[in-house]
Symmetry: C2
Subunit: 511 residues, 2 copies
């Protein structure tokens, strides 16, 4: 009945006699815990005693098994019990007195435990939190921007390539990888940039990142000292600004016009700077395209001011009209002042988390060491599958196909806005990108429009979300990429109806 | 013969008449480039003119196609030519004068372009580079440490689970993910920690990272201000020290004994501190295990000094003897001063890049915002597959199986060292972990042993690589995890032979 080995001895303590008060002020878990703890302290339960399984005891005491599990876990965590794999739970061999004395009274602080003391950087990050929350986790419905059409992604091809890689070379892909990125992928990207973007770069200059945001973070670490001036467009891509501010850079914002950042104002506001972050292919969020002469002036400014330029080409592939403009990178080959940044999030799918930088030769090693210190490298499997996807032509085919689909959706959105929303806002086609800007009619207020959109279950993104000084309360951003023509038209109608409803309400209030 | 549309007009310029000087001082690419450029400037090649394909022209001129491609790329990059997808290369419609004038003379700076101006952080990172290079990219042969046995990983199971996830829910997995991590994975980890490590934590407290290194980086950002004291073991895990130093923390190193970090010395050297980074399950690299009383003292110190503790439990699963010790985390449940850190790199495979933190409730939101700013989130597919791997029992099975395999390899290494290397070093078994420490006999110098190891093509890692102040030149680290018993024995014999050879050489030199 009772084996003598302390390892396996079944406890003689009458667990089934534990009395629990369902109406007591203490939760059942705590009552269980305290009674078992008391039994141990009073040596009614002895070192090595095996406890009944939670399954058995929960049935004996008619309490939920999870409640019992929690009590056991708690006692294990506190060192009273030991969970031995395969042999159940037993009383610890040694209960040091220290466990028992000093800490027990602190129990009452549990719910009111003092907050963790965080760094000043954490406080700054917390100040960004409202923006981040407002702009993420929004429902995917018209007109949510920044989202590609996942439904049109050739998932079967991707699955096939993944399966092949896992079958062929599982061993090789398990090993740790190169912080600079999977070499064949770097080569595939260099080839692609040469043919598609007219860029002359070598695989040695291509650095794989976990997406554009990591590229910005890595470059900031390597290029920006506290107090350095970093120039940005206004309106701008806010998440980049947050990263610069977190590095204690002095962010200088420069207004944009119909060609993107104003170089004249750059000279005025930042005759010297360490870095400029720009989006010449399609200014974010205005969609303005920078023409060649402005591009050359911008490079001249960079030389004059001693700045490096980050060219975020986040939408370079999706141009629907006009000839493809060469990237800023390499437009003047002997100038190594431009860093090119690309990402596959909007080209393929957002959860992939692969982007890349094209950098001057002497930045590759520092980037590699930085990446190694931050998170080592990107997972290998995705990199290998993406390499095959590019090398075997799926990538080019997908981009070509999506260019047509997106162009059509853009046209639908312009037409739907013209048909239904002309009282409220004016939408013009853009040369590229996955969203359009809607200019509000002068008598429409952003706040009211946003309220109407919420009523119509339509996602509108105010331009002001991206403005620093030049507060542009006269526009909204309308994403069209993942939505069918039908969805786009329906949402425009719904929004129009909600706007009318709101107007008639206002009319009633002010007769 | 000559279509009139400027889009498609074949150039009349006699490309095949280009004369190249094979013996000239200029490379062929440059000669080609200059002659085409001159033709454009002199209007012999006109805007819109289509150039011959590189395939055709390389055959006409008998130059390598790549040489020609480079010349074209260069001219495209400079804005003279345009590569239009599908319609070949043609002369740009507009050659702005500005392209031509100011930059051409700078050509000579090309090879001697000025180095990129980097931040002081980049300079510090460069100072870490030698260590990183010495300790990475080493051949996987005995006795390389820090590497699991990829050959024993159930790749087929992983492939099957991956295929199923891609088949079932490709759509859902393409969307952007939660910066805190894939919810079902967070739940699976909380369950696992409860049952396997006796930890009482909720999925809400589990935060998925791209591996332990990113965990350290994120926590440093959130908890450490410049000048703050961060305590580390000595010897220690250097990559963590680099991260703390990069954040301008004041790193205080504290000697370790046979139970890990000395709490007595912690009180002496750091009566107040912001953070301590420790490895209680298996001190890195000495493999010492911290017993319960030391753990409790450590927590007492953290309370007294106001410090948070990062418990890096990198090897908690691989314990071969002694009873499993509860994690530092939760040993005193009401104290929220311990952050638990785990990683799947050594448990599954290194290229996976998934780790996790268990943190006080109030750190989750700041962590999420930080992660969002750094790189958004980990790729979803791996997270989903790992969830299934854990939930369906493959993980527990794999860890159990590897515990047996690794225990056997450890025993083999101890035996092989005793049989063949007792003149040189002494190896004792460790309670856990994937490496052992070899203590050098007093008359053996580290440098000579390293030379012998190189000759024998055996990987030895000097302890001194991980020492800060307490320079321990009396030990080497021997990894055994990915090597068969035969490989381990053979390597020990080879090393013994090389050591003997070296000794007899020395004997000859000093007769």
């Amino acid at each position: 009945m009772s084996a003598k080995s302390p390892e396996t001895r079944r406890a003689r303590f009458p667990f089934d006699a534990i009395v629990l008060d369902d109406n007591g002020s203490e939760p059942i878990t705590d009552q269980l815990e305290q009674q078992i703890k008391a039994a141990i302290l009073e040596r009614r339960l002895k070192p090595g005693d095996r406890l009944p399984s939670t399954r058995q005891l929960s049935s004996d005491l008619t309490v939920a098994r999870n409640t019992l599990k929690n009590a056991y876990s708690q006692l294990i965590a506190e060192g009273y019990l030991i969970a031995a794999a395969g042999s159940g739970t037993r009383v610890a061999d040694e209960i040091p007195d220290r466990v028992l004395q000093p800490f027990t009274p602190r129990r009452k602080h549990k719910s009111a435990s003092s907050p963790t003391k965080v760094s000043s950087a954490a406080k700054r990050i917390q100040s960004f939190q409202p923006w981040i929350e407002t702009n993420t986790n929004r429902p995917v419905r018209p007109f949510l921007p920044h989202t590609p059409s996942n439904a049109d992604f050739p998932s079967e091809v991707w699955a096939k390539l993944t399966a092949r890689r896992l079958r062929q070379s599982a061993g090789g892909l398990l090993d740790r990888g190169d912080p600079r990125g999977f070499r064949p992928l770097r080569e595939a990207i260099a080839d692609y940039l040469g043919s598609a973007r007219g860029m002359s770069c070598h695989a040695d200059q291509v650095f794989i990142t976990a997406g554009a945001q990591q590229g910005i973070d890595l470059l900031t670490k390597l290029l920006v000292d506290p107090g350095d001036r970093v120039c940005m467009e206004d309106p701008c891509y806010m998440p980049a600004k947050f990263v610069f501010e977190l590095a204690n850079a002095k962010v200088v914002t420069v207004p944009v016009d119909d060609q993107g950042i104003s170089v004249k104002r750059l000279y005025e506001k930042a005759p010297s700077a360490k870095l400029a972050y720009v989006t010449p292919s399609s200014q974010f969020p205005t969609t303005a395209t920078m023409q060649l002469s402005r591009r050359l002036s911008l490079i001249e400014w960079a030389r004059d001011s001693g700045a490096m330029i980050i060219e975020d080409d986040y939408n370079g592939e999706f141009r629907f009209r006009g000839r493809p403009l060469p990237a800023l990178y390499g437009i003047v080959p002997e100038t190594q002042c431009v860093i090119y940044m690309g990402s596959f999030s909007k080209l393929l799918f957002p959860s992939l988390r692969i982007g890349y930088l094209v950098v001057p030769d002497d930045l590759i090693d520092p980037l590699a060491s930085s990446r190694w210190l931050i998170d080592r490298h990107s997972p290998l499997l995705e990199q290998a599958v993406l390499t095959d996807f590019v090398d075997e032509g799926h990538f080019a085919r997908h981009v070509r196909r999506m260019r047509i689909i997106y162009a059509e959706r853009q046209t639908t959105l312009v037409q739907a806005a013209t048909d239904h929303l002309s009282d409220v806002l004016e939408v013009s086609p853009a040369d590229g990108g996955l969203h359009l800007v809607g200019r509000l009619n002068t008598r429409v207020r952003e706040k009211e429009l946003m309220r109407a959109a919420m009523a119509a279950r339509v996602e509108l993104t105010p331009m002001s979300q991206f403005c620093v000084r030049e507060t542009d309360t006269n526009g909204v951003i309308l994403g069209f990429a993942p939505f069918s023509n039908t969805q786009i038209r329906r949402a425009a109608k719904q929004l129009a109806a909600a706007c009318k409803g709101m107007q008639s309400q206002l009319d009633r209030q002010m007769p």
